[in-house]
Symmetry: C2
Subunit: 343 residues, 2 copies
DNA sequence: CTGAAAGCGCTTACAG
DNA sequence: CTGAAAGCGCTTACAG
């Protein structure tokens, strides 16, 4: 291993544009022009080729700090997400990072854990960024970040009014869930809600309520839990212990559905024979559950990718339009007609 | 929203140390000294205080690019992991990022998805980093990254020979699993192996084989699958279809165990009555499964944290020792004595 | 105790 | 077509 700062023969191990210039017998500015792809019409093709070859041979890579200082730019953007451990946000990150890298940008994730920016012991990276993409939060939570080009993801119309936004059409997804269950014959629903004050969950809850209300004879009870298996089990249990218990549990999230499975099993209810259960998101756990979970697939990676594209457009002075990405109902084996009988 | 480069009253919106100097009536070097905390004995306390107050009032933050250029440092390190979507690596990231932030370092994750560095379309971020932490890979996979201070995580003794390393004591963990099952009375084991050529999985497999071999009457069959539910189900199924089928399935990973659950259910086997199953890692899915999974908890966050600490030490010229973090057997309800009978 | 100056490695007018 | 020079905003000898 050779350390970055090490010198070989009294010379810096990492060549600069000056070194390339010297080796190629041209001026440093010519090197910069050529490698910055601004040479056509200003440098002869032969010289350009020589410079390129010399740079390649010496393994030259421009110094990012110098470039950033000169240009007043950092080529890095901040991705603000509630948590990186949830597979959903991992996918958002991948989508964003992929588009970013294609455009020579780096993505730094913040905050690195579940602690919010406020009161966080973490150094504030917002000093060295060109823009911000925030997912699944309110504009309010972004106050600590100061002014910077901003794109909001999965944050609803309020955020969309203040910044270019990419959302999911979660209401459509939820309506598809209710329609699917209604078509199977269900009328008594339980909503296992995420106890998280975010637009995306309010929208899911409102859409479920509206869709059930539009159903002749439809009823909906609700219990909220944290997005965590045991809290969800407890919430779902409350619904299942109702005197007139629901025949279908609509969960705001796949992990919540895992908790609903536990609550059902604890009561000797078999899914989907005695109880139908649905999730939302379609993360890996949906297919790990037994029976596999009927859920709404949210294109998380696409969300990140489109968010980054919008930020890129914003950075270039454009006005990217806000948009909504459709979800897709994925019917698996956790849903079936309600049990016949007195229910 | 105000863009970073915007000017107000013909003046750059973001103050520099020169602005602070002018406002405080001192030289720019004094500002730098004071804010860099190198002023004691060189600047009078009164002046220092005045500078600090002025900087605060103007909302001054040093320009990172200028600082990096001058210092030849970037204050960012690369975290190279196989994938960010696996909850395990999310935890590693959090641990590393937490320690990094406490020391004013940023962490950039690479590669942003499952594609390896080789042939990846992603820009190479290794041009602007101070060091690298790589988790769960071979030194070989790091060839593209050139020389940089390096710490290896969860990569075994071969890596530890070349760089400071933090590993898990996975062999101990696997021995604890076998001992636990043996104490329950199991003798016929199946090993659902991860089809991943990494030290950590080879070590798990070898430790399981050795521990079972040391058991009077112990037998071990093996089947490998990708770390993905359906592939795991298929691998576990092969083991369960053996003429003399195992009474316990030892899985290299919790997700593999989820597949084993499916294989068992598909054959009408009830866990743990007819079959015991164990996992490894203790990620969220372990508790989402029904019954909850007996597994080995690997302190992933601690791995990231200790890795970053080691890198910090390395960056300061030290020689951090390699070390191994103990796992912990977590006994839940997926393990029980083997069924009595001809088995 | 304080300031003027050099220089990190780039990009980009500007002059020729 | 090519080069000399300025300057981005810092840190750190150096001079006083």
């Amino acid at each position: 291993m050779t350390e970055a700062g090490e010198t070989v023969n009294g010379r810096s191990a990492r060549p600069t544009s000056k070194d390339v210039a010297q080796a190629a017998g041209v001026s440093q500015s010519t090197v910069s022009l050529v490698l910055g792809r601004k040479w056509t019409g200003r440098v002869s093709p032969a010289t350009a080729r020589a410079v390129q070859e010399t740079a390649e041979r010496l393994g030259y890579r421009p110094n990012a700090a110098a470039r950033n200082l000169r240009l007043g730019t950092t080529r890095t953007v901040l991705l603000v997400i509630p948590t990186i451990t949830a597979p959903f946000f991992g996918a958002v990150y991948i989508g964003a990072a992929r588009v970013a890298a294609r455009n020579g940008l780096a993505v730094v994730v913040y905050p690195p854990d579940d602690a919010g920016p406020a009161g966080s012991p973490f150094a504030a990276p917002q000093d060295a960024i060109d823009g911000i993409i925030a997912s699944s939060m309110t504009l309010d939570a972004l106050r600590g970040f100061g002014p910077a080009p901003l794109v909001m993801l999965d944050s609803g119309p309020a955020a969309a009014g203040a910044a270019p936004a990419v959302d999911f059409a979660v209401e459509d997804g939820m309506r598809a869930v209710v329609a699917h269950l209604a078509a199977l014959g269900h009328r008594r629903f339980g909503h296992v809600a995420a106890a998280v004050d975010e637009w995306t969950f309010r929208a899911r809850g409102d859409a479920a309520a509206a869709a059930v209300a539009a159903l002749p004879g439809g009823t909906l009870d609700r219990a909220a839990g944290r997005i965590e298996v045991h809290s969800a089990k407890e919430a779902a249990g409350r619904l299942l212990d109702l005197p007139h218990r629901p025949t279908a549990l609509i969960c705001d999230d796949d992990l919540l559905a895992a908790g609903a499975y536990k609550a059902a099993r604890a009561r000797g209810l078999e899914i989907p024979r005695d109880l139908s259960v649905t999730g939302f998101d379609d993360v890996e756990i949906a297919r790990a559950l037994e029976p596999e979970l009927t859920t709404v697939r949210l294109p998380a990676q696409e969300l990140g990718a489109q968010g980054m594209s919008a930020l890129l457009e914003l950075l270039e002075g454009g006005r990217p339009p806000s948009r909504a990405l459709p979800g897709e109902l994925v019917v698996r084996t956790s849903t079936a007609p309600p049990p016949a009988g007195p229910g």
